[in-house]
Symmetry: C2
Subunit: 230 residues, 2 copies
Amino acid sequence: AIVEAVRAELSSGPLSGRRIVVTSGPTHEPIDPVRYIANRSSGAQGTAIARALAALGAEVVFVTGPADVPPPEGVEVVQVQTARQMLEAVEAALPADAAVFAAAVADWRVSSESGSKIKKQPGGVLPVMEFAENPDILAGVSQMKEGRPGLVVGFAAETDDVLAHATAKRARKGCDWIVANDVSPATGIMGGTENAVVLISDAGAEEWPRMGKDEVARRLATKISGALAG
Amino acid sequence: AIVEAVRAELSSGPLSGRRIVVTSGPTHEPIDPVRYIANRSSGAQGTAIARALAALGAEVVFVTGPADVPPPEGVEVVQVQTARQMLEAVEAALPADAAVFAAAVADWRVSSESGSKIKKQPGGVLPVMEFAENPDILAGVSQMKEGRPGLVVGFAAETDDVLAHATAKRARKGCDWIVANDVSPATGIMGGTENAVVLISDAGAEEWPRMGKDEVARRLATKISGALAG
Protein backbone atom coordinates (compact mmCIF):
# COMPACT_ATOMS: atom_id res chain seq x y z
CA ALA A 1 0.00 0.00 0.00
CA ILE A 2 2.88 2.33 0.76
CA VAL A 3 4.49 1.45 -2.54
CA GLU A 4 1.28 2.25 -4.35
CA ALA A 5 0.86 5.53 -2.52
CA VAL A 6 4.41 6.49 -3.42
CA ARG A 7 3.84 5.38 -7.00
CA ALA A 8 0.66 7.41 -7.24
CA GLU A 9 2.53 10.45 -6.05
CA LEU A 10 5.37 9.81 -8.43
CA SER A 11 3.03 9.44 -11.36
CA SER A 12 2.88 13.22 -11.33
CA GLY A 13 6.63 13.50 -12.11
CA PRO A 14 8.01 14.78 -15.41
CA LEU A 15 8.84 11.22 -16.52
CA SER A 16 5.38 9.91 -15.68
CA GLY A 17 4.20 7.54 -18.40
CA ARG A 18 7.74 7.03 -19.71
CA ARG A 19 9.26 3.55 -19.74
CA ILE A 20 13.04 3.42 -19.33
CA VAL A 21 15.35 0.41 -19.35
CA VAL A 22 18.46 0.70 -17.16
CA THR A 23 21.25 -1.90 -17.07
CA SER A 24 23.68 -2.00 -14.17
CA GLY A 25 26.40 -4.03 -12.47
CA PRO A 26 28.94 -6.41 -13.94
CA THR A 27 28.33 -9.58 -15.90
CA HIS A 28 29.86 -12.88 -14.82
CA GLU A 29 31.00 -15.18 -17.63
CA PRO A 30 31.51 -18.78 -16.45
CA ILE A 31 34.74 -20.68 -17.11
CA ASP A 32 33.46 -23.75 -15.26
CA PRO A 33 31.06 -24.27 -12.33
CA VAL A 34 33.43 -22.59 -9.84
CA ARG A 35 35.34 -20.03 -11.92
CA TYR A 36 34.29 -17.00 -13.94
CA ILE A 37 35.52 -13.84 -15.63
CA ALA A 38 34.02 -10.59 -14.40
CA ASN A 39 34.18 -6.87 -14.89
CA ARG A 40 34.68 -4.72 -11.83
CA SER A 41 31.46 -2.85 -11.12
CA SER A 42 29.73 -2.24 -7.82
CA GLY A 43 26.49 -1.29 -9.60
CA ALA A 44 26.37 1.91 -7.52
CA GLN A 45 26.08 4.37 -10.44
CA GLY A 46 23.49 2.33 -12.38
CA THR A 47 21.41 1.80 -9.26
CA ALA A 48 21.48 5.52 -8.47
CA ILE A 49 20.35 6.33 -12.03
CA ALA A 50 17.44 3.89 -11.87
CA ARG A 51 16.39 5.40 -8.53
CA ALA A 52 16.64 8.96 -9.87
CA LEU A 53 14.58 8.12 -12.96
CA ALA A 54 11.92 6.42 -10.83
CA ALA A 55 11.86 9.47 -8.56
CA LEU A 56 10.92 11.56 -11.59
CA GLY A 57 8.00 9.24 -12.27
CA ALA A 58 9.48 6.89 -14.89
CA GLU A 59 8.49 3.24 -15.12
CA VAL A 60 11.94 1.67 -14.83
CA VAL A 61 12.99 -1.85 -15.82
CA PHE A 62 16.28 -2.46 -14.02
CA VAL A 63 18.37 -5.24 -15.57
CA THR A 64 21.26 -5.99 -13.27
CA GLY A 65 24.21 -8.35 -13.11
CA PRO A 66 25.59 -9.55 -9.74
CA ALA A 67 26.16 -6.14 -8.13
CA ASP A 68 27.49 -5.24 -4.67
CA VAL A 69 24.69 -2.79 -3.89
CA PRO A 70 21.03 -3.82 -3.55
CA PRO A 71 18.67 -2.84 -6.38
CA PRO A 72 16.49 0.25 -5.89
CA GLU A 73 12.92 0.09 -4.60
CA GLY A 74 9.96 0.81 -6.82
CA VAL A 75 11.40 -0.52 -10.05
CA GLU A 76 11.03 -3.80 -11.92
CA VAL A 77 14.22 -5.78 -11.22
CA VAL A 78 15.54 -8.45 -13.61
CA GLN A 79 18.64 -10.26 -12.31
CA VAL A 80 21.06 -11.81 -14.77
CA GLN A 81 24.59 -13.26 -14.74
CA THR A 82 25.96 -13.18 -18.28
CA ALA A 83 26.00 -10.70 -21.17
CA ARG A 84 23.79 -12.99 -23.22
CA GLN A 85 21.21 -13.11 -20.43
CA MET A 86 21.40 -9.32 -20.14
CA LEU A 87 20.72 -8.91 -23.86
CA GLU A 88 17.70 -11.21 -23.61
CA ALA A 89 16.33 -9.28 -20.64
CA VAL A 90 16.81 -5.93 -22.42
CA GLU A 91 15.09 -7.21 -25.56
CA ALA A 92 12.20 -8.49 -23.45
CA ALA A 93 11.91 -5.08 -21.75
CA LEU A 94 11.58 -3.14 -25.02
CA PRO A 95 9.89 -1.10 -26.39
CA ALA A 96 10.91 1.78 -24.15
CA ASP A 97 11.21 5.55 -24.43
CA ALA A 98 14.83 5.50 -23.34
CA ALA A 99 17.57 3.02 -22.47
CA VAL A 100 20.51 3.70 -20.18
CA PHE A 101 23.25 1.07 -20.43
CA ALA A 102 25.30 1.57 -17.28
CA ALA A 103 26.29 -2.09 -16.86
CA ALA A 104 29.92 -3.12 -17.23
CA VAL A 105 29.27 -5.93 -19.71
CA ALA A 106 32.08 -8.40 -20.36
CA ASP A 107 33.24 -8.03 -23.98
CA TRP A 108 34.21 -11.68 -24.13
CA ARG A 109 32.95 -14.93 -22.76
CA VAL A 110 34.73 -18.26 -22.49
CA SER A 111 33.48 -20.35 -25.39
CA SER A 112 35.20 -23.43 -23.98
CA GLU A 113 33.07 -23.34 -20.80
CA SER A 114 33.34 -26.62 -18.91
CA GLY A 115 30.39 -28.30 -17.21
CA SER A 116 32.65 -29.74 -14.52
CA LYS A 117 35.47 -28.18 -12.54
CA ILE A 118 38.67 -27.95 -14.58
CA LYS A 119 41.37 -29.87 -12.69
CA LYS A 120 44.85 -28.51 -12.23
CA GLN A 121 47.24 -30.53 -14.37
CA PRO A 122 50.52 -31.89 -13.02
CA GLY A 123 53.74 -30.42 -14.35
CA GLY A 124 52.42 -26.88 -14.56
CA VAL A 125 50.38 -27.52 -17.70
CA LEU A 126 48.02 -24.58 -18.14
CA PRO A 127 44.42 -24.73 -19.24
CA VAL A 128 43.53 -23.59 -22.72
CA MET A 129 40.68 -21.13 -22.77
CA GLU A 130 38.90 -20.13 -25.90
CA PHE A 131 37.06 -16.85 -26.02
CA ALA A 132 34.13 -15.60 -28.04
CA GLU A 133 32.86 -12.07 -28.42
CA ASN A 134 29.76 -11.29 -26.42
CA PRO A 135 26.76 -9.60 -28.04
CA ASP A 136 27.12 -5.81 -28.06
CA ILE A 137 23.94 -4.68 -26.32
CA LEU A 138 24.59 -0.95 -26.70
CA ALA A 139 25.36 -1.16 -30.43
CA GLY A 140 22.52 -3.58 -31.06
CA VAL A 141 19.86 -1.37 -29.47
CA SER A 142 21.37 1.87 -30.84
CA GLN A 143 21.19 0.48 -34.37
CA MET A 144 17.71 -1.06 -34.21
CA LYS A 145 15.85 -0.45 -37.47
CA GLU A 146 12.46 -0.57 -35.79
CA GLY A 147 11.41 0.20 -32.28
CA ARG A 148 14.64 1.89 -31.23
CA PRO A 149 14.21 3.82 -27.96
CA GLY A 150 14.10 7.56 -28.63
CA LEU A 151 17.14 8.09 -26.44
CA VAL A 152 19.97 5.59 -26.00
CA VAL A 153 22.65 6.37 -23.42
CA GLY A 154 25.87 4.39 -23.22
CA PHE A 155 28.72 4.44 -20.70
CA ALA A 156 32.45 4.39 -21.31
CA ALA A 157 34.69 3.39 -18.43
CA GLU A 158 38.19 4.21 -19.58
CA THR A 159 41.64 4.22 -18.04
CA ASP A 160 43.36 6.46 -20.60
CA ASP A 161 42.47 8.98 -23.34
CA VAL A 162 38.96 9.12 -21.88
CA LEU A 163 37.52 11.77 -24.20
CA ALA A 164 38.99 10.32 -27.40
CA HIS A 165 37.96 6.76 -26.58
CA ALA A 166 34.48 7.77 -25.50
CA THR A 167 33.86 10.00 -28.54
CA ALA A 168 34.94 7.19 -30.84
CA LYS A 169 32.74 4.76 -28.92
CA ARG A 170 29.68 6.98 -29.38
CA ALA A 171 30.22 7.12 -33.15
CA ARG A 172 30.94 3.40 -33.42
CA LYS A 173 27.94 2.27 -31.41
CA GLY A 174 25.43 4.79 -32.75
CA CYS A 175 24.06 5.80 -29.36
CA ASP A 176 22.88 9.32 -28.57
CA TRP A 177 24.87 10.06 -25.44
CA ILE A 178 27.93 8.58 -23.83
CA VAL A 179 28.63 9.08 -20.14
CA ALA A 180 32.40 8.68 -19.89
CA ASN A 181 34.61 8.41 -16.87
CA ASP A 182 38.15 7.63 -15.88
CA VAL A 183 38.20 4.48 -13.78
CA SER A 184 41.96 4.30 -13.28
CA PRO A 185 42.67 2.95 -9.79
CA ALA A 186 44.17 6.33 -8.80
CA THR A 187 40.80 8.11 -9.23
CA GLY A 188 39.11 5.94 -6.58
CA ILE A 189 35.91 6.08 -8.66
CA MET A 190 35.53 2.33 -9.07
CA GLY A 191 33.88 1.05 -5.91
CA GLY A 192 33.70 4.59 -4.49
CA THR A 193 30.81 6.97 -3.83
CA GLU A 194 31.87 9.75 -6.21
CA ASN A 195 32.14 10.02 -9.95
CA ALA A 196 33.64 12.51 -12.42
CA VAL A 197 31.99 12.17 -15.82
CA VAL A 198 31.98 13.76 -19.24
CA LEU A 199 28.68 13.69 -21.11
CA ILE A 200 29.20 13.36 -24.85
CA SER A 201 26.35 14.14 -27.22
CA ASP A 202 25.67 15.83 -30.56
CA ALA A 203 26.27 19.08 -28.71
CA GLY A 204 29.84 18.08 -27.85
CA ALA A 205 31.48 17.14 -24.57
CA GLU A 206 30.17 18.49 -21.30
CA GLU A 207 32.48 17.97 -18.36
CA TRP A 208 30.75 17.66 -14.99
CA PRO A 209 32.67 18.36 -11.81
CA ARG A 210 33.42 15.47 -9.46
CA MET A 211 30.32 14.82 -7.33
CA GLY A 212 28.46 12.03 -5.56
CA LYS A 213 27.13 9.19 -7.72
CA ASP A 214 23.62 10.09 -6.51
CA GLU A 215 24.09 13.65 -7.75
CA VAL A 216 25.42 12.42 -11.12
CA ALA A 217 22.30 10.26 -11.32
CA ARG A 218 19.93 13.13 -10.53
CA ARG A 219 21.56 15.40 -13.11
CA LEU A 220 21.43 12.69 -15.74
CA ALA A 221 17.80 11.88 -14.96
CA THR A 222 16.85 15.55 -15.26
CA LYS A 223 18.67 15.76 -18.59
CA ILE A 224 16.92 12.63 -19.86
CA SER A 225 13.62 14.09 -18.77
CA GLY A 226 14.36 17.26 -20.74
CA ALA A 227 15.39 15.31 -23.83
CA LEU A 228 12.25 13.17 -23.81
CA ALA A 229 10.06 16.25 -23.33
CA GLY A 230 11.83 18.20 -26.06
CA ALA B 1 35.72 -2.61 26.40
CA ILE B 2 33.00 -5.05 25.37
CA VAL B 3 35.41 -6.76 22.99
CA GLU B 4 37.94 -7.12 25.78
CA ALA B 5 35.37 -8.45 28.19
CA VAL B 6 34.29 -11.02 25.62
CA ARG B 7 37.89 -11.88 24.87
CA ALA B 8 38.64 -12.35 28.56
CA GLU B 9 35.74 -14.73 28.82
CA LEU B 10 36.80 -16.59 25.69
CA SER B 11 40.33 -16.98 26.96
CA SER B 12 38.95 -19.76 29.10
CA GLY B 13 37.91 -21.85 26.05
CA PRO B 14 39.61 -25.11 25.02
CA LEU B 15 41.51 -23.31 22.23
CA SER B 16 42.76 -20.56 24.52
CA GLY B 17 46.41 -19.80 23.78
CA ARG B 18 46.20 -21.45 20.34
CA ARG B 19 46.90 -19.40 17.22
CA ILE B 20 45.03 -20.52 14.10
CA VAL B 21 45.23 -19.12 10.57
CA VAL B 22 42.01 -19.34 8.54
CA THR B 23 41.74 -18.37 4.85
CA SER B 24 38.37 -17.64 3.29
CA GLY B 25 36.59 -16.22 0.26
CA PRO B 26 37.66 -16.16 -3.38
CA THR B 27 40.74 -14.59 -4.90
CA HIS B 28 40.44 -12.11 -7.75
CA GLU B 29 43.15 -12.28 -10.40
CA PRO B 30 43.32 -9.12 -12.55
CA ILE B 31 43.22 -9.26 -16.35
CA ASP B 32 43.39 -5.45 -16.63
CA PRO B 33 42.16 -2.59 -14.40
CA VAL B 34 38.48 -3.44 -15.03
CA ARG B 35 38.43 -7.21 -15.59
CA TYR B 36 39.41 -10.16 -13.45
CA ILE B 37 39.12 -13.92 -13.07
CA ALA B 38 37.50 -15.16 -9.88
CA ASN B 39 36.42 -18.29 -8.11
CA ARG B 40 32.87 -18.47 -6.85
CA SER B 41 32.92 -18.28 -3.06
CA SER B 42 30.70 -16.31 -0.73
CA GLY B 43 33.15 -16.78 2.15
CA ALA B 44 30.27 -18.03 4.32
CA GLN B 45 31.87 -21.34 5.38
CA GLY B 46 35.32 -19.88 6.08
CA THR B 47 33.83 -17.01 8.06
CA ALA B 48 31.74 -19.42 10.14
CA ILE B 49 34.84 -21.53 10.87
CA ALA B 50 36.85 -18.50 12.01
CA ARG B 51 33.96 -17.45 14.26
CA ALA B 52 33.61 -20.96 15.74
CA LEU B 53 37.36 -21.22 16.45
CA ALA B 54 37.36 -17.79 18.11
CA ALA B 55 34.34 -18.84 20.17
CA LEU B 56 36.45 -21.73 21.57
CA GLY B 57 39.12 -19.22 22.60
CA ALA B 58 41.55 -19.41 19.68
CA GLU B 59 43.54 -16.41 18.49
CA VAL B 60 42.43 -16.37 14.85
CA VAL B 61 44.15 -14.64 11.93
CA PHE B 62 41.52 -14.44 9.19
CA VAL B 63 42.99 -13.96 5.71
CA THR B 64 40.16 -13.24 3.32
CA GLY B 65 39.68 -12.49 -0.37
CA PRO B 66 36.79 -10.27 -1.55
CA ALA B 67 33.91 -12.20 0.09
CA ASP B 68 30.16 -11.52 0.07
CA VAL B 69 29.75 -11.90 3.82
CA PRO B 70 31.41 -9.58 6.36
CA PRO B 71 34.36 -10.95 8.35
CA PRO B 72 33.70 -12.20 11.88
CA GLU B 73 34.20 -10.05 14.97
CA GLY B 74 37.00 -10.65 17.42
CA VAL B 75 39.56 -11.95 14.96
CA GLU B 76 42.50 -10.32 13.18
CA VAL B 77 41.34 -9.66 9.61
CA VAL B 78 43.76 -9.42 6.67
CA GLN B 79 42.07 -8.52 3.38
CA VAL B 80 43.69 -9.57 0.10
CA GLN B 81 42.73 -9.78 -3.57
CA THR B 82 45.06 -12.26 -5.28
CA ALA B 83 46.49 -15.70 -4.50
CA ARG B 84 49.97 -14.24 -4.26
CA GLN B 85 48.79 -11.69 -1.69
CA MET B 86 47.03 -14.47 0.23
CA LEU B 87 50.23 -16.52 0.36
CA GLU B 88 52.17 -13.52 1.66
CA ALA B 89 49.56 -12.86 4.35
CA VAL B 90 49.56 -16.52 5.43
CA GLU B 91 53.36 -16.60 5.62
CA ALA B 92 53.31 -13.41 7.69
CA ALA B 93 50.74 -14.97 10.05
CA LEU B 94 52.85 -18.08 10.79
CA PRO B 95 53.90 -19.71 13.04
CA ALA B 96 50.53 -21.06 14.15
CA ASP B 97 49.21 -24.16 15.87
CA ALA B 98 46.81 -24.91 13.04
CA ALA B 99 45.89 -23.60 9.59
CA VAL B 100 42.51 -23.99 7.92
CA PHE B 101 42.58 -23.18 4.21
CA ALA B 102 38.93 -22.61 3.33
CA ALA B 103 39.53 -20.00 0.63
CA ALA B 104 38.73 -20.77 -2.99
CA VAL B 105 42.10 -19.74 -4.39
CA ALA B 106 42.39 -19.29 -8.15
CA ASP B 107 44.74 -21.94 -9.54
CA TRP B 108 45.84 -19.63 -12.34
CA ARG B 109 46.48 -15.96 -12.79
CA VAL B 110 46.77 -13.97 -15.99
CA SER B 111 50.48 -13.48 -16.57
CA SER B 112 49.75 -11.05 -19.41
CA GLU B 113 47.98 -8.61 -17.05
CA SER B 114 47.55 -5.22 -18.71
CA GLY B 115 47.98 -1.92 -16.87
CA SER B 116 45.35 -0.24 -19.05
CA LYS B 117 41.93 -1.44 -20.19
CA ILE B 118 42.20 -3.91 -23.06
CA LYS B 119 40.22 -2.47 -25.99
CA LYS B 120 37.88 -4.56 -28.05
CA GLN B 121 39.41 -5.09 -31.48
CA PRO B 122 37.42 -4.58 -34.68
CA GLY B 123 36.65 -7.62 -36.78
CA GLY B 124 36.02 -9.91 -33.84
CA VAL B 125 39.71 -10.35 -33.04
CA LEU B 126 39.96 -11.90 -29.60
CA PRO B 127 42.44 -11.02 -26.90
CA VAL B 128 45.27 -13.39 -26.16
CA MET B 129 45.59 -14.20 -22.49
CA GLU B 130 48.54 -15.97 -21.02
CA PHE B 131 48.18 -17.82 -17.78
CA ALA B 132 50.60 -18.75 -15.04
CA GLU B 133 50.10 -21.14 -12.17
CA ASN B 134 49.46 -19.48 -8.83
CA PRO B 135 51.40 -20.52 -5.73
CA ASP B 136 49.84 -23.53 -4.01
CA ILE B 137 49.31 -22.25 -0.46
CA LEU B 138 47.92 -25.52 0.92
CA ALA B 139 50.77 -27.65 -0.46
CA GLY B 140 53.39 -25.09 0.48
CA VAL B 141 52.36 -24.91 4.13
CA SER B 142 51.64 -28.66 4.38
CA GLN B 143 55.15 -29.46 3.17
CA MET B 144 57.06 -26.89 5.24
CA LYS B 145 60.29 -28.43 6.53
CA GLU B 146 60.37 -26.15 9.56
CA GLY B 147 57.61 -24.44 11.47
CA ARG B 148 54.75 -26.37 9.88
CA PRO B 149 51.51 -25.89 11.83
CA GLY B 150 50.69 -29.03 13.82
CA LEU B 151 47.40 -29.40 11.97
CA VAL B 152 46.80 -28.34 8.37
CA VAL B 153 43.25 -28.55 7.03
CA GLY B 154 42.49 -28.15 3.32
CA PHE B 155 39.22 -27.92 1.45
CA ALA B 156 38.18 -29.59 -1.77
CA ALA B 157 35.24 -28.15 -3.66
CA GLU B 158 34.41 -30.71 -6.31
CA THR B 159 31.69 -31.20 -8.89
CA ASP B 160 32.23 -34.90 -9.55
CA ASP B 161 33.91 -37.94 -7.94
CA VAL B 162 34.13 -35.94 -4.71
CA LEU B 163 35.63 -38.65 -2.53
CA ALA B 164 38.21 -39.83 -5.05
CA HIS B 165 39.31 -36.31 -5.98
CA ALA B 166 39.51 -35.18 -2.36
CA THR B 167 41.42 -38.26 -1.19
CA ALA B 168 43.93 -37.78 -3.99
CA LYS B 169 44.18 -34.09 -3.14
CA ARG B 170 45.02 -34.86 0.50
CA ALA B 171 47.85 -37.21 -0.53
CA ARG B 172 49.16 -34.81 -3.17
CA LYS B 173 49.19 -31.74 -0.93
CA GLY B 174 50.39 -33.40 2.25
CA CYS B 175 47.79 -31.83 4.51
CA ASP B 176 46.31 -33.63 7.52
CA TRP B 177 42.62 -33.27 6.82
CA ILE B 178 40.55 -32.41 3.77
CA VAL B 179 37.02 -31.08 4.10
CA ALA B 180 35.41 -32.07 0.82
CA ASN B 181 32.09 -31.06 -0.63
CA ASP B 182 30.07 -31.28 -3.80
CA VAL B 183 29.51 -27.79 -5.18
CA SER B 184 27.59 -28.81 -8.30
CA PRO B 185 24.94 -26.18 -8.98
CA ALA B 186 22.20 -28.76 -8.26
CA THR B 187 23.30 -29.06 -4.60
CA GLY B 188 22.64 -25.38 -3.90
CA ILE B 189 25.63 -25.39 -1.53
CA MET B 190 27.55 -22.64 -3.30
CA GLY B 191 26.12 -19.35 -2.06
CA GLY B 192 23.69 -21.20 0.22
CA THR B 193 23.46 -21.54 4.00
CA GLU B 194 23.91 -25.33 4.19
CA ASN B 195 26.80 -27.64 3.47
CA ALA B 196 27.27 -31.40 3.15
CA VAL B 197 30.89 -32.35 3.74
CA VAL B 198 33.11 -35.40 4.00
CA LEU B 199 36.06 -35.10 6.36
CA ILE B 200 39.04 -37.07 5.10
CA SER B 201 41.91 -37.85 7.46
CA ASP B 202 44.31 -40.66 8.34
CA ALA B 203 41.31 -42.35 9.92
CA GLY B 204 39.47 -42.50 6.59
CA ALA B 205 36.43 -40.62 5.28
CA GLU B 206 33.76 -39.39 7.67
CA GLU B 207 30.57 -38.28 5.98
CA TRP B 208 28.64 -35.58 7.82
CA PRO B 209 24.94 -35.13 7.20
CA ARG B 210 23.79 -31.96 5.42
CA MET B 211 23.59 -29.17 8.00
CA GLY B 212 23.95 -25.41 8.34
CA LYS B 213 27.37 -23.93 7.57
CA ASP B 214 27.49 -22.63 11.16
CA GLU B 215 26.97 -26.16 12.45
CA VAL B 216 29.67 -27.55 10.11
CA ALA B 217 31.95 -24.84 11.49
CA ARG B 218 31.21 -25.69 15.13
CA ARG B 219 31.80 -29.40 14.55
CA LEU B 220 35.04 -28.74 12.74
CA ALA B 221 36.23 -26.33 15.45
CA THR B 222 35.48 -28.92 18.14
CA LYS B 223 37.37 -31.55 16.16
CA ILE B 224 40.35 -29.21 15.71
CA SER B 225 40.28 -28.47 19.42
CA GLY B 226 40.38 -32.21 20.16
CA ALA B 227 43.25 -32.79 17.73
CA LEU B 228 45.36 -29.98 19.18
CA ALA B 229 44.70 -31.23 22.73
CA GLY B 230 45.48 -34.85 21.85
